[in-house]
């Protein structure tokens, strides 16, 4: 009888412990349904992400000495990235001018407005190719919109939209499929898919397409979701087998996703 009483007492206390713990989490969850509180909490989360990113960049600097070959290589890559972005912008603008000349009626070119967002959380799984941002349906975000960083570099796509937050799937995610073209070679079209780490693969490249290391890959806009000309990455290796119907190219991202905390969300063209 005493043992039974002791057991039931233990179960009661365990129940009370769980109830106290869960009730606070439930209250927090209910508060998160209030947009004002959710925004307040997201501001705190964004601050934590910024602090963590700052610490992370510091650690990265300490573990990579300035004089190392890796650091010098990184510096060269940075210069290459800047040039690549300039090249992309130049080509996009040239094409736009051609279109304006051919279309007399087209007098005002309207640019779709983007929404500036901040990263409030990052995925904790192995590939870490998703981030949560602080804007949602209340701010007019739409599923499928492109998330852009820097000067027109594609960061990812909005995968899921909630009331006050959204999930952005990074370009490097294994489920990511983005129609792409090689800059300056408009007919070279392929599908960029995520692979391990920061490595991407461009599939379904026609065998007759001329492709080489160092070519810049940009979005083609074929899916109607992402505008064309957004930079994806650089070709590092081309795999071409004569018997295969298509070529394959490995692409390297021009940025470290972990280092970015501010994104520009561009709605699909025409919206």
């Amino acid at each position: 009888m005493a043992k039974f009483r002791s057991t039931s007492e233990g179960v009661r206390k365990a129940g009370l412990t769980a109830a106290a713990f869960l009730s606070v989490i439930l209250i927090f969850w209910l508060l998160m349904q209030v947009p004002a509180f959710a925004k307040f909490y997201e501001r705190i989360e964004a601050g934590i992400v910024r602090a963590g990113t700052g610490v992370g960049n510091g650690i990265a600097r300490v573990t990579k000495p300035e004089q190392s070959l890796a650091a010098q290589f990184q510096s060269c890559q940075e210069n290459e990235r800047v040039l690549a972005i300039d090249g992309s912008e130049y080509n996009t603008l040239r094409r736009e001018v051609q279109e304006l000349r051919s279309l007399v009626a087209y007098t005002n070119r309207t640019e779709a407005e983007g929404i500036v967002t901040h990263v409030v959380a990052r995925a904790v799984d192995e590939d870490a190719t998703r981030v949560m941002i602080d804007k949602g349906t209340l701010d007019g975000l739409q599923k499928g919109s492109a998330a852009v960083i820097d000067d027109g570099v594609l960061f990812g796509m909005v995968e899921e939209v909630r009331e006050t937050t959204s999930i952005v799937r990074l370009v490097a995610n294994a489920q990511s499929n983005i129609p792409a073209a090689v800059l300056g070679k408009r007919r070279t079209i392929g599908l960029v898919e995520g692979r391990e780490g920061a490595l991407l693969v461009m599939e379904f490249i026609p065998q007759d397409a001329e492709l080489g290391n160092g070519n810049l890959v940009v979005t083609s806009g074929l899916d109607g979701l992402v505008r064309e000309g957004l930079v994806i990455g650089l070709v590092t290796e081309v795999v071409s087998v004569e018997s295969a119907p298509f070529q394959q190219a490995f692409i390297e991202l021009l940025y470290e996703p972990r280092e970015w905390t501010t994104l520009l969300i561009l709605p699909p063209p025409g919206v």
């Binding site: 007492e9 365990a14 009370l16 009730s23 606070v24 992400v49 995925a123």
Partner: protein
């Protein structure tokens, strides 16, 4: 258990509620600060380490809730796949280890529970990804996944070694401050 009877239930409830606040802060730090660190530090399983320490130091129920809810919440927020199942499996493993294998409340027992739980967690994740790959046909690099899983276990061990003693001291201080001085554990362990 006698000491527990003298503990004011209200104070115990407040302590448990404070653990819930600590849980929310831990998750924010996991997805914000830790996930923003470079590889391999971003893999540090902060929520898992804290869950194991809470389970070992404070309460089986709290620890189990901590481990399973952290996975569930992170997955529900869209910050990882298969984390809910891995969290539930890890919490079951942690309870079993704490009740049957590492029954003492020593630092080494804590380390034992931590290693066992971390290994179970990563194995559950890998198995889940196997099933996920079969159903979704999404390419997963299992070589790198295993490397990262090893890193998760090593970082968990390192985390318990470095922070375990401090967190234990803090939890014991808060228990003495808010619950009842000298009370060893929320639920009695078999001797």
């Amino acid at each position: 258990m006698d000491d527990l009877a003298h503990s004011p239930p209200a104070r115990r409830m407040i302590t448990n509620a404070l653990y819930a606040v600590l849980f929310i802060i831990t998750l924010a730090l996991q997805t914000g600060a830790v996930a923003s660190l470079p590889e391999p530090y971003r893999l540090f399983p902060l929520a898992l380490v804290m869950g194991v320490i809470v389970l070992h130091e404070r309460s089986l129920v709290l620890g189990a809730l901590w481990l399973s809810l952290s996975g569930f919440i992170l997955e529900a927020r869209g910050l990882g796949d298969g984390l809910a199942i891995a969290g539930i499996v890890a919490s079951l493993a942690a309870i079993t280890l704490a009740l049957s294998v590492f029954v003492k409340r020593s630092f080494w027992a804590l380390l034992g529970v931590g290693i066992g739980t971390a290994v179970t967690y990563v194995v559950a994740r890998i198995l889940w990804l196997f099933v996920w790959v079969i159903f979704t046909r999404t390419p997963v690099q299992f070589g790198s996944l295993i490397e990262q899983s090893v890193a998760v276990v090593l970082l968990a061990i390192l985390g318990i070694f470095i922070f375990g003693a401090y967190i234990r001291r803090f939890l014991r201080w808060s228990r003495d401050k808010f619950v009842s001085k000298g009370q060893l554990y929320d639920i009695s362990f078999p001797q």
